[in-house]
Amino acid sequence: MKHALTIVFLVIISGCSLAQDRFKLTLGTGLGQYKMDDPKEIQDTQENYLEGYGLKRVENFPMYLYYSGEASVRIQKIISVGLIYRLQSTGCKSAYSDYSGVFKIEQIVKANNVGVLADVHLWNKNKFFLSGQTRIYYGWTVLKYKEYVEIYDVDSGLYNSTAELKSESVMINPDLTFSYELTKHFFANLSVGYCIDFKGDITNRGQTVRNFEGEVLQTDWSGFRLGLLVSYKF
């Protein structure tokens, strides 16, 4: 649904007449670092519990691409405000396999974030621009947990269990954006910043998920962001 709305928004925007150079559409991607301490703890707990099966962590919530779409309007000479949508994901995987079968435990975490941004023009010279930006968005996180065992050539040798956990949180993401004017309307942007996630409680069908100590487990998207975007001003 969110993807559809994004595509519709971009199609509409692309049909608008270009005037006054006040509006800006920005699309881009970037590399995000995601803390995810508690999901890592979930993975650790399962690996310890299944210690005898030789599971090894092959993915551990690495940095992964995020995708942004923004629309802003300059309200003053140096200040712009806008709306932002960002999609980010990561995950982890523990696995063991041999000739007889495979055993995997995976977590895929993704968040749809919708928020607002504020852009302050700081400096420009010739075709180079520098601005400071702050993005505040609300994220809806889905964590898919999957255990998979397959023993080859055995009728009862397939086990596949999934669970979908959710969380919601508020994130704030200040960063600096370096822009280069490619044409009168197109700009290439490089943004460097840090996302602070105020964390959201992981729930499973409405019930908070806790560890053995009774502590509530949370997602944490906090980490550095490095983005590469393209803007179109009109």
Partner: protein, 612 residues
Amino acid sequence: MKTRCNWFILCLTSVVMTCCIFVPDDDDNFKVVNPNSTVAPLQIDLAIADDTVDVSGPTYFGYDIKGFEPSRSYILLFITEGASGAPVLTEFNGELQYTPDIDSGYVKATIRVMTRSGTQSLADRLGLEQIVFERSWTLKVFTRLPKEARAIVRPEQGSLKVSWDKYNKKNFKAYKVIRIRGSNYSVAKTITDPDSTFYFDRAFVGGEVQYSIVTEVIYGGFSSGPFTTFDDQETPELVKYEPVGNGKLKLSWSSSRYPLNVRGYDILESNSPNGSGDLIYSTNEPNDTSFLYLPRFGQVGYINIYTYSKVNEDPNYVHSKNVEYVHGEKIEPYESIYFDPAGNKYFIKNKNYLSAYTIDQNLFVAKTEVPEFMSSFAISRDGDEIFGVFEDQLYSWNTANLQTNYQRDLSSLLLANQYIVGVGTSKDSKLLLSKSIDWSGHANLLFYDPVLQVVKDEYTGALASTVMELSANGDYMISQSLGYTRMSKLEDNKTVTNGVTATSQNTFFNPYDETQIIIGIDYPNPEGSVYIQEIETWQLVERKPTPAMDVAAMDVQSGYVVGGLDDGTGNYIAYDYINQKEIARFAACWSRLTFNKGYLYSTDGVRIKLPQ
């Protein structure tokens, strides 16, 4: 230009949205593991000879598995084709049970042993990689158990034979002979030869016994035949007893129908129909079925034969029904007996009856009711009347038919507390009446004329007597009172001088010499127990030699005495003291005896005619 940019943005967005979610790496941490199992092979052996086994019911099979490794765990499955489940065993006891759930047919049975492969692969660690060892055989199921064998029991070859029909099938295992005797239930014999379909019961000597034949087949099936009851109550019985001389009796009985089983016999004699009695003979010879026996006299005997089995089981004997025998002739038991002078009839008083029988044929003549406690009777000298007295009544009956002649009240002859206690007859047919005058036994002797109904003479100083007899001249009287027999003299002054108390109840006037009395001594005297004494002087005239004996009965007419010998045997002897010869012997008896005209009578209801 603008349109191309817009479509570029749109396509870029679509591609990005499709490919932008994190996907884990394909690396599954593959490890190379040796797929070859490390399990040592097992050898499964079955405790049956063939691969096809006949099964007729719940059956146990033995098995043996070699090659177990102590560090491994194994599970054993016993899989039978068509069964809804297979028992899983983790401890192996070497035995499996199979219960067929089909009526007939072939069933494949498999012993399957499984253990983990030990390769340490993922499948092995999950327990999904097993090494299987198995072995199968075929069960031929049939529900027809051996036909129930019925035991046929009959005496044969001196024992008791149990036989049954042969079981012809290949799966024969054994016959078992079940025996029940009394409270004992036992397996008498186990026979593993299918052709051997008989059993001789060496323990049976009679009574009731039950047998059942159990036919067993291999692997646990069996059928039990019905119980056959054999009841032989025709145990040896007293066949006959016959005098063989010297007063002895030969007792013979039928030998057992099971002589091979008989250890011997015990013969017991009882004086009651239901008692077991005393042992009179014992033998360990099965063919010894007779013995000579000195019978008792005076009582009806009951012979009981115990047949003993050679086998010591409980019970190991059977006994016959008591067989009554009488050494002599049965007569009616009595309290007192009287004989008519002519020797034709005898009269007995028993409870409240007076009965008359002929002496020769012992035929019943007549019976009349008398007071139960009447104890003194006398027969007139002419033998026509028999008198009895009780309290103050005098009774007279006709000896021909015991019709009552009269019952006369003699109370006029009595004062208070006086009774007529005895009656006798004198030569002149007068009655001697003993009138008890006090409680100490003093009495007056009345000579009473029953016709005139008057007392002719009265003598004082007598002792109350129930039996009285006068001498031929009427001067002396033999009387019995207080357990003693006395000789008394009637003095002219109408007094009775009580003479010497005789210690024997057997004191008689000598029928051949009226001046003498004959006394049978009731204590043993080695010089003889028959004394002949002068009445007047009480001098001993002669002592008749007899064996040392207690005289119990005496017949002075025939010159016989009967009594117990003082030789430690307890036997009795009948002895002719005139001719000095033994007439008969018999075992001890405990009844009172009376001798008359060659017949010895016993109060217990027996008489015997002694040889003349």
